[in-house]
C-alpha cells in the first residue's frame, strides 16, 4: 500500500480498472471520508450514508469510461455520491435525524471516538448537528446538494458548478437561498 500513496488519482483509476485491488483500496481510503460526509449530510443517517458511498463507488467504477477527466476524480465522485444519496433518500424516505440514537448502544460502541472532548461540549455539538441536519432536511434537494458540496466537501463555486453541470450564477443563487433558510431555521440556536 505504501507504494501507491504518492500516485495521482488518475493513475490509480487506471490501475483499479485493470483489476488492481490495492489501487482501488487506496482510492477508496483517499475519498471515503469526504464522500461519507456529503452522503450523511444529505441523508442524515449513518448506514444510509455508507450505502450511498458504496453505491457511488460501484457506479463510478462501472461508469469509468464516461469519466472524461475534465474534472478531478474527487469532484466527479462527489457528484455521483450526492446523486446516489438523493436517490437513496427518495427511495427510502428520509429518516429522523435521531434514528442513529435510537439504534442503541451497539452502534455507538462501533463508532470511533475521533477526538476526546468534554461531555458538555460533546452534547452541545450533538445538539448542533441535530439542529443542522433538521435544517438541511428542510431544504429543496438541489439547494441542499449545492450547499453540502460547497460547505462540507469544500468545493469552490467553480468546482460545484462543474460537478453539477450548472452555471456559477446558479450555484450562487442556490447557496443564497439555502443560507437564507438555514439562517432562519438556526436563528433559535443563535439566541442560545
Amino acid at each position: 500500500m505504501t507504494a501507491v500513496l504518492a500516485i495521482p488519482d488518475a493513475e490509480l483509476l487506471q490501475r483499479a480498472s485493470a483489476g488492481e485491488r490495492d489501487s482501488l483500496e487506496e482510492l477508496f481510503v483517499r475519498h471515503r471520508s469526504l464522500a461519507y460526509r456529503v452522503a450523511y449530510r444529505l441523508l442524515g443517517h449513518e448506514q444510509d450514508a455508507l450505502d450511498a458511498v458504496q453505491e457511488a463507488f460501484v457506479k463510478a467504477l462501472t461508469h469509468l469510461p464516461t469519466f472524461e477527466g475534465r474534472s478531478s476524480f474527487k469532484t466527479w465522485l462527489l457528484r455521483v455520491v450526492s446523486n446516489a444519496a438523493l436517490d437513496l433518500g427518495r427511495q427510502r424516505g428520509r429518516r429522523e435525524t435521531m434514528s442513529m440514537d435510537a439504534l442503541g448502544q451497539r452502534r455507538r460502541e462501533e463508532m470511533e471516538p475521533s477526538v476526546w472532548v468534554e461531555p458538555d461540549r460533546e452534547m452541545q455539538r450533538e445538539d448542533l448537528r441535530r439542529e443542522l441536519q433538521q435544517a438541511l432536511d428542510g431544504l429543496p434537494p438541489a439547494q441542499r446538494q449545492t450547499f453540502v458540496l460547497h460547505v462540507d466537501a469544500e468545493l469552490s463555486y467553480r468546482e460545484v458548478a462543474d460537478s453539477l453541470g450548472i452555471s456559477i450564477g446558479t450555484v450562487m443563487s442556490r447557496l443564497f437561498y439555502a443560507r437564507q433558510k438555514l439562517r432562519a431555521i438556526l436563528a433559535s440556536w443563535t439566541r442560545r
Binding site: 483499479a16 480498472s17 485493470a18 483489476g19 485491488r21 482501488l24 483500496e25 477508496f28 471515503r32 471520508s33 461519507y36 460526509r37 450523511y40 449530510r41 449513518e46 450514508a49 455508507l50 458511498v53 458504496q54 463507488f57 460501484v58 467504477l61 442513529m100 462501533e110 463508532m111 470511533e112 475521533s114 455539538r125 448542533l128 448537528r129 443542522l132 460547497h150 460547505v151 462540507d152 469552490s156 463555486y157 467553480r158 456559477i168 450562487m172 443563487s173 447557496l175 443564497f176 443560507r179 438555514l182 439562517r183 438556526l186 440556536w189 443563535t190
Partner: protein, 194 residues
Amino acid sequence: MMEPNQFKLPPTPELRAAYADGEFEGREDLQPLRREFEAWIAEHPEAQTELAELRRLRRWVEESPPPEPSDAHWTRCFDAIAKADKTLAKPADSGTKILGTIASLAAVVMLFLIAPRFGSRPMEAWATAGPADVEIVHAESEDLAQVAWQAPHDPLPLAESGDVAFVEPEMPRRVVYREGVGRPMIWALAEEER
C-alpha cells in the same frame, strides 16, 4: 470564479456570500475590486453583521461533522465495492474453464434425466384406449384435405370406427401424463375411474 465585471457596488447578497466564502481568495485580477468591496463593507455595519452570520453558519457546519464510521464499517463497505467491481474478478484459467464446461454439461444431462421424474407430478392415470373406445358420432359431409400450400385434393371419405388401428396396445394400464412428449393422441379413462 467570477469575472471582474460581475462586481458592482453595492454588491448583491450573492456576491457578499461569495466574499464570505473566500471566493475572492487567490484571484489576483479581483484584488482591486476586493479592496473596493472591503471599503464598502467597512461603511455598512449591517453588511458586517451579515458576513459574520454567514461565517458563523459555516463554522457550525465545520464544527459538527457527522459521526465517523468504524474501521469495521469501512472494511465491509470496501469489500462490497470490491465484490461488485467486476474488473477485480480474477479471470479463470483454461483448465478451470474446461472443468466448468464439463460440470455445466453434466448438470444439464442430470436435469434432463431427472426432470421427468420430479419435474411434473402425474395428475391422473390413464389407460391407452382400445378400438372399442372409439366412436365416430358425427359425419355430416365429406372430409377435405385442407392443405394450406396446395389446392384441395380429391374428396376423401371420412374414417369409421373400423379404420382405427392401435399398433401397440400391449400395456392396458399404461400411465401417461396430461402433458409431455409421450401423451397419446387417443386415450381413455382407466377402467376404475369410469
